[in-house]
């Protein structure tokens, strides 16, 4: 089975208390941030490697970004991917449609029975990219996949719905799946493994190699600006006798869609 795994690099913002917006108001200050592979993409790579171990074939990892993004490809190679391809273009500010066009062009040119994406990314979390690429490639897709069984010509998947229910599908290959967290347990990648992967070659391509001119990639959604959300202050304390406090809390939980 020929698998293509599309992965990305994100800043680790979970640990940061306050993020600073830069002077352009269209990006955040990134110099003190630590970068890592997108959480969902760890599960993508683990799933891809396990499938390859079981069914044989090839595994190609693809990413779109400047040369720091080689990190995520090294990780894929350390896990056993055969090839890593980076499209040398900073698309961090681009809308999903643009990125989808680029990836569609790359994927079209390589053998692909199964194309895997993470269900969403930690930074922007739009969850659109995989399904868009599938439509552009004109292959069936399923998103939020939490269970996957693959045979040579088809896959059986479980998609996650709300409230603990799953939807089950049988999909003919070639197909595209977006993988949700919890589908497997991503293995640890040792530093030694990554160092050894440094010696493997990466393919770097430019937009012109793909015959895509920057003008052809028109954004459909534009970023006007970034702002900090209004500040919260420690816990809002709910006062009153147990019954009253419980009632207020119940209302808050209902309003925020918890139940």
């Amino acid at each position: 089975m020929d698998i293509v795994a599309c992965i990305k690099r994100v800043p680790d913002t979970s640990e940061v208390d306050v993020i600073k917006i830069d002077a352009s108001q269209k990006d955040i200050e990134k110099d003190r941030l630590v970068f890592k592979i997108n959480d969902w993409d760890e599960y993508v790579l683990e799933e891809a490697v396990q499938l390859r171990e079981k069914l044989g074939g090839t595994l190609t990892a693809v990413t779109v970004g400047h040369n720091d993004w080689d990190d995520v490809l090294r990780r894929a190679l350390a896990m056993g991917a055969d090839t890593g391809i980076r499209i040398d273009q900073d698309v961090s500010a681009e809308d999903t449609h643009v990125v989808a066009k680029i990836l569609k062009t790359v994927i079209q040119q390589i053998p692909h029975d199964l194309v895997l994406f993470g269900a969403q990314s930690e930074d922007f979390g739009s969850g659109q990219l995989g399904a868009m690429v599938a439509e552009m490639l004109d292959i069936p897709h399923a998103t939020l996949v939490v269970g996957l069984e693959a045979e040579e010509k088809r896959v059986r998947v479980n998609r996650e719905l709300e409230a603990g229910t799953l939807e089950s599908y049988t999909i003919e290959l070639p197909a595209l799946l977006t993988i949700h967290t919890g589908i497997n347990q991503p293995r640890y990648i040792s530093l030694g493994g990554i160092k050894r992967a440094m010696k493997k070659e990466l393919q770097v391509m430019s937009l012109s190699d793909l015959q895509l001119s920057p003008d052809a990639l028109n954004p459909m959604v534009r970023l006007e600006k970034l702002e900090l959300p209004p500040k919260g202050e420690g816990a809002e304390l709910i006062t009153g006798a147990p019954g009253e406090a419980a009632e207020q809390l119940t209302k808050i939980l209902k309003d925020t869609g918890i139940f």
Binding site: E160, V221, L223, L249
Partner: protein
């Protein structure tokens, strides 16, 4: 500006909860722009739902077909795209649900309509549609506009748009679903309910977490009841595992699991560093603790300083009561 179309997710003969939120927002936008609010519902037994939609929408389009009983992305997209091409709404609005994640992006590509997902706000300014998205772990808001286009597609985040009840009497229009396609390349095999036992707290959306403040093993029962009414799972801090009251698979924290639920409700949890490290990624944290100085109150969004044994039973009954009302 032409109308606003709300796509109503329909499952098990009723409208998904989020639909009312999107209808309310759609109604507000339609009133502001003085355009029509349309709603489309697709399925088999949809008469009751169509009537419900008509309370908000000026016009309800009911696409009835036996083969459309389940809200599946493929068939729904097939039904929606010609409808949208024909009616040309300015905004197509739906809740950001699992269903929407499967369908909206491919619909967007098929129609070449810009898509913004999981939006926390939608506004109209000088004829332009603007949306706000919450990014970077909720620490930054991004304001987006759309390139020139006849139709834009927006999915809204659950819980961001309050439901405002409405009592119109919109017109219901039934139309046919023309496609004969079998969708065999992506064949729906059925639903699966989650298995019981062997609990993975990292996958739960709601965690009711107990700490030392729960005092006795038998009080965990109360936490289980609360978890149940919230469709959640019981987790705990390390001392509870040390005492042997819960198995270690339930433990959240440094030497337990890292969790990122929608709601983390800490009962009698002091918020010691080793524990907080495992749950600070929770979207919303509520803490109930007798100690006003407990560190958990500086990481929680809401807190009640009180006796868990008194507050929790009240909470269970109030939640059950409210749930019973909205069914």
């Amino acid at each position: 500006m032409s109308g606003i179309l709300v796509v109503a997710e329909h499952r098990n003969k009723s409208l998904a909860d989020i639909v009312h939120q999107m209808l309310s927002k759609g109604r507000q936008l339609a009133d502001q722009a003085q355009v029509e609010l349309l709603a489309v519902v697709i399925g088999r037994d949809i008469d009751a739902s169509a009537a419900e939609l008509a309370r908000w929408a000026d016009r309800v389009i009911a696409v009835k077909n036996d083969r459309l009983e389940e809200p599946l992305a493929g068939p729904y997209q097939k039904a929606l795209s010609p409808l949208i091409r024909e009616r040309k709404p300015k905004i197509v609005l739906m809740g950001h649900s699992s269903f929407a994640m499967d369908m909206a992006p491919s619909l967007s590509v098929e129609l070449e309509a810009p898509l913004a997902t999981d939006c926390v706000d939608i506004s109209l300014q000088n004829g332009d549609v603007l949306v706000t998205r919450s990014i970077y772990n909720g620490k930054v808001n991004a304001i987006h506009s759309f390139a020139q286009s006849e139709t834009v597609i927006i999915t809204g985040r659950v819980g961001e748009f309050p439901v405002e009840d409405c009592h119109r009497q919109g017109q219901v229009e039934e139309i046919e679903f023309a496609s004969e396609e079998g969708f065999n390349y992506k064949k729906f095999e059925g639903y699966l309910e989650e298995e019981a036992g062997g609990v993975d707290i990292t996958q739960a959306e709601v965690l009711v977490s107990v700490g030392r403040g729960i005092k006795e093993k038998k009080n965990i029962q109360m936490a289980e009841e609360l978890a149940e009414v919230l469709s959640g799972v019981v987790s705990c801090s390390r001392p509870v595992v040390d005492y042997g009251w819960l198995p270690s698979e339930r433990q959240v924290g440094l030497s337990g699991k890292t969790v990122k639920p929608k709601l983390y409700l800490g009962l009698g949890i002091s918020g010691a560093f080793q524990h907080v490290v495992g749950m600070k990624g929770a979207k919303m944290t509520v803490a109930i603790n007798k100690d006003a100085k407990a560190p958990i109150f500086s990481v929680a969004n809401y807190g009640i300083v009180g006796d868990i044994l008194q507050v929790v039973p009240e909470l269970i009954s109030k939640i059950s009561e409210l749930k019973g009302k909205t069914g």
